[in-house]
Symmetry: C2
Subunit: 356 residues, 2 copies
């Protein structure tokens, strides 16, 4: 099977490690994936320009292979006073339970987010990062043409056929289609209603409507998911949860353990951690915030408001208040090294389907 | 590839036509599927024992091949007076718009539903229907053993690994795993939270936890979906929407046309038509009932309350008030005969993967 994408991204195997933000994608993880024949990706959404530069250099010490970086595209958000107050009131008792004070953190503004994004883009160009992917939207035409003129390969994210077409029109080299199975934040940037589409539907419909290569993301953990994605019309897979439980990942041990012990029906959506819909393991925070979930401020304001809770819970190894992001296939998760995972997937896939 | 299931169900190809209730599965459709090498299924959930017997005999005039029937397993439901009143109030203006009177239909009771179900089981046994599948629950141990002693092949429905295991334990010969992509009603019969699982996640996790053959259902419309499902661990697919738009299907033309014109992101869930979560094309009824959706009585009470509206809208070819059930892949739908559909899927699948 001919595969433009592995060549384009410089990977031996059509396996991309999802750019999970929030400390999961350590330099060790990213480099191990690229060294094992996949494409490692830095989840840089929350990183400062300095942190980004530092990690890019670290990775270059660990691998000579290609790797990529993912950025969050800022968009206007809603955070009315009463929404912030609803969040503060709803979380007051959790803060006391975790021994946190009531101080309100400085809240993000769209202008500051945009400035940070532009700084991040500057670093990507200066450091000549081979691959740059985007979530939560499509960058401006100027930014896209600037990156393209530097020969940086661009990958967009789509959750519907419409979003896939918008990404292609904007000049992306490839698209990650994020199925409803995916863990963590939804990449949806158009209408939310009707955007939770399973990969069995999303991959073939997207493949019929765009000409650039498609990367499948969501619930894919092993050779079966890889082979199925290729059958459906994708040229590669992006795996998140499968890499999250790897030895090299920076996820908290309590997070890894929770995934290894979870059943498929414990994985739910919540808006409560960040103000944006995201998939993870159901816990007390998700359950007890259900009632006010739709009245909270948008991302990234709610994310900033929960930062203290998530941080303290993590220190206390208290999984009831951590965002335990996971895709819908936790029962396929294993504790192993990146090399073991990739070799297992590749060996098993060869038995299932010749993917060249 | 060895496939116990095609042998068990007596099909040439691993393609089952979903038992869509409400007049879609005409005798012509069911027989055409079985004659073309698949397994045709009667959606008998809403049929009276007499209607069932009549259709079984009609099908036997049209084919000598195996076919199946699907029944709804009744369960206790909630229909408080205030819920019924909420429904009546919310639909009053629609009834006027459609020139319907305000008369309240006779509402179903659990006892009557159970009696009807037992009658249906009696017909299945008397008529020796080769395959009987179940949705919305698992029949009693007595019913299962009665059917098994008559050598009727039993197929359960599961939307989570837990439900798959319960079906296996109850003595089902095979399980249909219904992904979140699927059109029409959810088969969920345990906790609803966490039960919307995409096939990319549901098939392999279920396959790892049960020993009986798995049938994949949800968003599968062509060879790509068939090949992918087999890669993931299923032994056959059950296609609904793909057969709904076929010439032989009894769906209203306006319903078929709406699917042929729909985009992936227009397919949403609603509880408003029946009191049970179901997937279909967004229209005025779904949108305008959103606000009260969670305050309506359970299935089948709400279904009875909307019967007049759905019926009159269908006569008027008014798609804004019909339940336009569809899976998440409407952009893969075609208008063709059953034989054309099955031949196309089989020919294309041979190119993708040898499925024996």
């Amino acid at each position: 099977v001919e595969n433009q994408l592995t060549e384009l991204l410089g990977m031996k195997y059509p396996i991309i490690q999802a750019p999970m933000a929030g400390g999961v994608t350590t330099s060790q993880l990213v480099a191990a994936v690229s060294n094992a024949g996949g494409l490692g990706m830095i989840g840089a959404g929350y990183l400062s320009p300095d942190q980004m530069r530092k990690q890019i250099n670290e990775i270059r010490e660990l691998t000579t292979e290609n790797f990529g970086i993912n950025l969050f595209v800022p968009s206007q958000f809603k955070a009315a006073k009463n929404e912030v107050q609803t969040a503060v009131d709803a979380m007051k008792s959790f803060k006391h339970e975790l021994d946190l004070d009531d101080e309100l953190p400085e809240l993000p503004t769209y202008e500051a987010e945009l400035e940070k994004f532009n700084e991040q883009i500057r670093i990507v160009i200066e450091e000549k990062v081979p691959v740059c992917s985007f979530t939560f939207g499509i960058p401006s035409a100027d930014t896209v043409s600037q990156l393209r003129s530097e020969n940086i390969i661009l990958v967009g994210t789509a959750t519907t056929v419409k979003e896939a077409i918008l990404n292609e029109k904007a000049g992306m080299d490839a698209i990650t289609v994020q199925g409803s199975e995916a863990g963590g934040h939804r990449g949806t940037f158009t209408e939310e209603d009707g955007s939770l589409i399973g990969l069995m539907s999303l991959i073939p419909q997207a493949a019929d409507h765009v000409h650039i290569p498609i990367i499948a993301a969501g619930g894919i953990m092993d050779a079966r998911g890889l082979a199925a994605s290729l059958c459906l019309g994708a040229q590669a897979v992006q795996m998140g949860t499968a890499f999250l439980t790897c030895v090299e990942s920076g996820a908290a041990d309590v997070h890894k353990q929770a995934i290894l012990e979870a059943a498929d029906d414990q994985i739910v959506f919540t808006r409560a951690f960040s103000g944006k819909n995201a998939r993870g393991i159901k816990n007390r925070f998700i359950t007890e915030m259900r009632e006010v979930e739709q009245q909270l401020p948008d991302f990234p304001v709610q994310n900033t408001l929960t930062k203290g809770i998530r941080g303290k819970a993590s220190v206390q190894k208290n999984k009831e208040f951590m965002s335990l992001w996971s895709g819908q296939s936790p029962m396929l998760a294993k504790s192993e090294t990146v090399e073991e995972l990739i070799n297992r997937v590749v060996m098993d896939a060869k038995k299932l389907k010749d993917f060249g």
